[in-house]
Structure formats: structure tokens, C-alpha cells
């Protein structure tokens, strides 16, 4: 009987306590200022994924910091394309969000943007431009090339593993740039691909890294969003080149460097433009020179000689005297794809453009079809 009474008493107290909490909270949180310009970001993975989405969220925080109370920002994370995205956008619009950045391809189409004519949409990595839909991305191939140089220098055997997401031009051009970079510091280097068919899937990425090391890779790189590859590399004492964000804290010893994005300034300029009515849709492709892309701080095992080589190439890319996608470029079968002296362009040139690349350069081991 004793026990029963105690249990009952505890339950009553708990219920009463919750009731008090609930009552105390009424009306508190809802009084946010309505004058702030509301901007939302939609992420394909968690906002703190240690890679792609985290870099975007750093950009969001930068906007919030620079504009203070004039803006109200939020994000929606782990949003799947299709039904979930449609719901998410509908609820954001309902809550008064006037500008939405979608940071993964496939979120917004022209037809979708047309459904909300009073909302400004911006999508990373795509090509659909409409009246209220902009596209933005940056020349990560330049910075990925530099990070590839670090990978090549770190490799003894010349076999480098590269964990990749989808067999699409974006990832193919990064794999190509990474390989070309590795071959500068390690002539004849081979880059082995394992596809995960997902942007963010730590378990799969770890398995991919495992299989690459088992197959003989002595350095790992990646074009996926999580630091799982790096954590595995750290456990094996293998050098690792990251992607998207500075994730050195996940693998302090293995860390070499990474190609990183600085989305903040772009976001700030676009939000400002939207606020003062000068926003126009367009296709933005940021460069390394403008600070849109770059490389993260080097890890402890990167030699001074390698750092100097990378710095020199970086300078050459920035002043235009070097461009990694200049012919002659050969594909895996040894066929000449880009003639000597020809520079590849972003959108023009079909499969020989950055946005249409469907073939892998000589030295990549893997299929461009996934």
C-alpha cells in the first residue's frame, strides 16, 4: 500500500508540475517582431553534418549576425525532395518567409517557383532560372584540384581512395579535378571511386572508405557530406582530404586540408538585395579569387614543400595563368576529350562543359555511371 501511495503522489506532482509549466509558457514565445525580413534555408542533411549543410548554415548565421534584428532566419534540415519539401515550403510561406534558399539540387523547379510568385527562391548547384528562382554555386573544381595536390603528396603508393555521392557532372568534375591535382604532386597517381548514391549517409560512407583501404588506397578523399570517411581514416592512421567544411576536429591527425565554401557573403548580398527590392534572378558562379571557394587550414602532417606548391598553384589559378580543365585532357580510355589549349566552360560545351561533364579523366578508376 505504501508504494502505491508514493507512486500516486509522484504522478500527481508530475502532472501538476507539467500543468504549471504549460500555463507559465502561454503566450510567451509568439511575440516575435513582424517587421524582420524572414529568410529560410532548406538542408538535405543535418545543419551540423560537418560538411555541406554545415557550410551553408555558417552562411546563414553570418547573414543573421550582419543584419541582426532586421532579419529572422531559420532552417529546415533533413528535408527529402518531393512531398516533404512541398510541405516544408508551404509551411514556411504560411509563416511569412519571403526568401528561401534550397541547398540541394532537385528542391525547386521553374514550375514549383511559379506556384509562389511572391517568394524569392534560390537553389544551389542547379541551372533552372526563372523570374523568382536563382541558381548559385562556385568554382570548387579549383579548390578541389588544390586539395587533390595535398592528397597526391601524402600518398606513397599513388593509390588514392575517393568516396563519391552520385554519378552526376558536379561530382564527376570534382573527381576529375581531384585526380588532376593529385597527379601534379604524384605523377601517375590513380584515384579509385566508390559511389554511395547519397549526399549524406555516414554508415555507407564509412563502408566505402573501408573497402577503398582494403583495396590498397593509402590516402582518402571525398565528395560526400559527412566526416565518416575521415573518422575511419583517423582510426587507420591514413591521411584524409575532406570536403565542404573544415572538419579537422573529426580527424586531427589524418587531416590534410579540404576544399571549402564560403557561402556567407553571397547570402548576405542576396538577402540585402531582396530587402531593398533590387533582387534579380540569375545564375551565379563564385570563384576562388572572390573568396567563394578556398582551401581549409592544413593539418600537421602536410609538409612545407607541399604547402608552397599548393600556394603557388592557387596564385596561378587566381590570376588566370593556370586552369586545371585546359586541354589536352584524356579520358579513362586514353581518348583525347579536350584539345590542347582549349579551356572548358561552365555551361557551354555539352559533355565538355563543367555542368555537363560525363566522363572521367585518365587515372580515375571507376565508372562514370556509378
Amino acid at each position: 500500500m505504501r508504494k502505491r501511495k508514493h507512486a500516486l503522489a509522484a504522478l500527481v506532482v508530475a502532472i501538476a508540475a507539467t500543468g504549471v509549466v504549460l500555463a507559465a509558457g502561454v503566450g510567451a514565445g509568439s511575440a516575435k517582431s513582424n517587421s524582420a525580413f524572414k529568410v529560410a534555408w532548406i538542408y538535405v542533411g543535418p545543419h551540423n553534418d560537418g560538411g555541406w549543410s554545415q557550410a551553408h548554415d555558417a552562411g546563414r548565421l553570418y547573414v543573421q549576425k550582419m543584419l541582426g534584428s532586421k532579419v529572422q532566419t531559420t532552417y529546415k534540415e533533413n528535408i527529402a525532395v518531393g512531398a516533404q519539401l512541398q510541405q516544408t515550403v508551404a509551411s514556411l510561406v504560411n509563416q511569412g518567409y519571403k526568401m528561401i534558399f534550397g541547398t540541394s539540387y532537385g528542391y525547386f523547379s521553374k514550375a514549383f517557383a511559379a506556384k509562389y510568385p511572391s517568394v524569392l527562391f534560390e537553389q544551389a548547384t542547379g541551372t533552372d532560372v526563372a523570374k523568382n528562382l536563382s541558381e548559385y554555386f562556385g568554382a570548387a573544381e579549383d579548390s578541389v584540384f588544390l586539395s587533390g595536390m595535398a592528397a597526391g603528396a601524402a600518398s606513397k603508393t599513388g593509390d588514392i581512395g575517393y568516396v563519391v555521392a552520385f554519378p552526376i557532372p558536379e561530382v564527376i568534375r570534382h573527381a576529375n579535378a581531384f585526380t588532376l591535382g593529385a597527379q601534379v604532386t604524384h605523377p601517375g597517381a590513380k584515384v579509385h571511386l566508390v559511389w554511395t548514391n547519397n549526399w549524406f549517409d555516414p554508415a555507407k560512407e564509412k563502408k566505402a572508405a573501408q573497402s577503398l583501404v582494403a583495396a590498397g588506397a593509402d590516402v582518402l578523399g571525398q565528395n560526400v557530406d559527412s566526416p565518416a570517411t575521415g573518422q575511419f581514416a583517423e582510426s587507420k592512421g591514413i591521411p584524409w582530404v575532406g570536403y565542404d567544411s573544415d572538419s579537422s576536429k573529426f580527424a586531427p591527425k589524418s587531416w590534410q586540408t579540404a576544399s571549402v565554401y564560403n557561402w556567407g557573403p553571397y547570402y548576405l548580398s542576396r538577402v540585402k538585395a531582396a530587402m531593398n527590392g533590387t533582387w534579380k534572378s540569375g545564375f551565379y558562379y563564385g570563384s576562388m579569387k572572390s573568396g567563394f571557394t578556398g582551401i581549409a587550414a592544413f593539418g600537421p602532417s602536410v609538409s612545407a614543400a607541399t604547402k608552397a606548391k599548393i600556394a603557388a598553384k592557387m596564385k596561378a589559378i587566381e590570376n588566370g595563368s593556370f586552369y586545371e580543365f585546359t586541354g589536352p585532357l584524356y579520358d579513362q580510355s586514353g581518348k583525347l576529350r579536350v584539345k590542347s589549349g582549349v579551356r572548358m566552360q561552365v555551361l557551354k560545351g555539352g559533355t565538355n562543359s563543367l555542368y555537363g561533364m560525363s566522363w572521367l579523366v585518365k587515372g580515375v578508376v571507376g565508372s562514370p555511371k556509378g
Binding site: 508530475a14 507539467t18 504549460l22 509558457g25 510567451a28 527529402a80 541551372t127 552520385f166 557532372p169 555537363g356
Partner: protein
Amino acid sequence: MRIERRLRQPRWLIVAVPAGSLVFAFFAAGLVLYATGHNALSSYRQIVDAAFLNSGAIGQTLTQATPLAFTGLAAAAAFRMRLFNIGAEGQLFMGAITADAAGLYLGGHGWPTALVIFAMVIAGCAGGAAWALIPGALRAFFKTNEIITSLMLNYVAAYVLTYLVFNTESYWRQTKGFNASVFPTSKTLPNDALWPSAMIHARGGIALPLGAGIAVLVAFLLWFLFTRTRFGFEAQVLGDSPRAAQYAGMRTRRKILAVMGISGAVAGLGGASQVGDFAHMLDADPNGLQKQYYGYTGIVVAALARYNPLAVVVVAFLIGALQNAGNTLQGADFPSGLVGVMQGIILFSALGGELLVRYRVRVGRTMPATEAA
């Protein structure tokens, strides 16, 4: 303290227990919210607004609820016979693939919309049923555990779905145009193959998708089949006591195949509705349809509905509302993990409460001898 089986289940309990579970869940989730520094009442308010009250909210809830109704019905149909088809997920994918092919082909050849939709429905059912009959046949003829086989086939189906659009230039994949080269996409259905929706002019317009109507119709058909026909009676007996059913001369194999086929067909129909009602293309992105886990959530829906097809429709609507609200709630000041915790508490309480319908908790040492049986 001991738990004992109830000899009789009072009618009032069937209403009181879910209601009590919900109240408990709100208090428990409220404590979590308080501990994490959130305002519980305004959070609940947001949930209700996002699920039902905001302009367009019911339409969004229906978008989430419709596939759950199909997968819930698929699970309920099989589970009633103690046939544990965990494969509604893969059967839904297969139904989407076949229905999309039918829509693309017939819609592009000038067939009237009604016929195209009918063909998509049939194709979706056939695709789902065929996929379900693999574990069904293995169970019927070789006594293979259908839980394992149907579950494993979900992964196979997901890979097939991704493969069709991401790794090969199949009939489903869009290959024309520059966009198609930037990221793999599926062909969009021709206008003649789009499923219509009925508009209710309230709360900013509620679009009732055709699939939601079909789901209700299927629920009535299943209810009739399982409670009013000899087929349903035999399935029930087979589920309760396979031996007794065999002695009574009921055909076990045939029944297993039929029930798995029906279950798969209903899940496949859900896939057809995904294509025709919502996506208007084959959503093969691993971050799309495959991340919704409709097939698995459908099992929860069926369990909460006690495998009653009519109740499945109601529960699917409520779970759809909960999922819809979750998207609205999460954001910079409300982590998505916390949304998951709240949804988990609500579902766990609801399922846990079921125990109290069938069993009762006795506190104390002695037990009246009359109830000891």
C-alpha cells in the same frame, strides 16, 4: 505489481485508453520540452495549426496520410492472418515503377484520362502484388520466414528504383535537355496521366487527392472481405490456429498467396497514387520517396488501428497530421531531433496504452482466486 490478462475487455476502455495515452504523451513530451527550454503550449498550438488549421494544412496532411493509409491497409490485411508482410515499402516502390510506366506509355499515346488512370491503378496493384508474391510463394511452398524475405526485398526494390533513374538510361529516365545531364531525373507524366483532385472550398482550399478516395474505398472493401465473407473467416481461422484450419480442410497455401497478393496490391496502389497524385514522376532520388519510410510507418498505423481497415484510415490521417506538423515545427530554434522525440513519445504512448486494453496492472500481493484463471 503484476500484469494479468483481462478476461473481458470493457467497451469504454477502447476509447478511454487511447485518449488517456494521448494525454499522458502530451505531459511526457511537455516535460521534455520544458527540460530543453521550449514552450510546450505554443509548440502544441503550432502542431495543431500546422496539421489542421493553417491555410492548406489539411491538404498537406492528406499528402502525408494517403500513402500511410495504403501501407497501413497493406499491413493490416496481411497481419490479420498473422502473415507478417514487412515489405509494403518495397511493394510501394514496385507499384510506383509499374504505374509510372503505364502512365508514361498510355498517357503519351492519347488514351482518355480515365482509362490511363485505370491502367495505372491496375499496373500499380500488379507491380506490388508481384513483389509481395515472392515472399508469399516462399512462405507457402518452402515455409520460409516471410518477415525476413519481405524485409530484405525492400532494399532490393529501393536499389532497383534508384538504378532505373540514376545508373542507367531506362524508359523512366529523362534523357533530353540540358537539365537532364546536370542531375538524373525521371520523365514527367503527360497531362493525360495526372490524377485529379476534388477541391473543398474551406480553409484556403483543401485538395482531396484521388488516391485518398481510393484508399477509403479499399478500406471498405477490405473490411467487407475480412468480416463478411467466407474468405475472411478462413483467413482469421488460419491466423488464429493453422492446425485447426487444416483439419477443417482449409487450403493454407492458396490463402497465404491470396492474402500476400492482396496486401502487396494495396501497397502497390499506394505507389501508383504517389506517382499519379503527388510526384507526377518516378521519385527515385534516395533522398526522396525512400526517405519517407511509408512502408514501415504503415505497420505502426496498422497496429494502432488493431488491423481494422476502417480504423486504419482514421489513424493514417492522424499520423499524417503528426508528420506534417513535425516539418513545420523544426527549425533554427527547434531541433529536428526534438521533433522526432516528441513524435516517438506520442507513438510509444499510443502503442503502449494498447497493453492496458488487453491486460490490467494489479498492485498488491494477493489476488482474488476467482480471477486466477
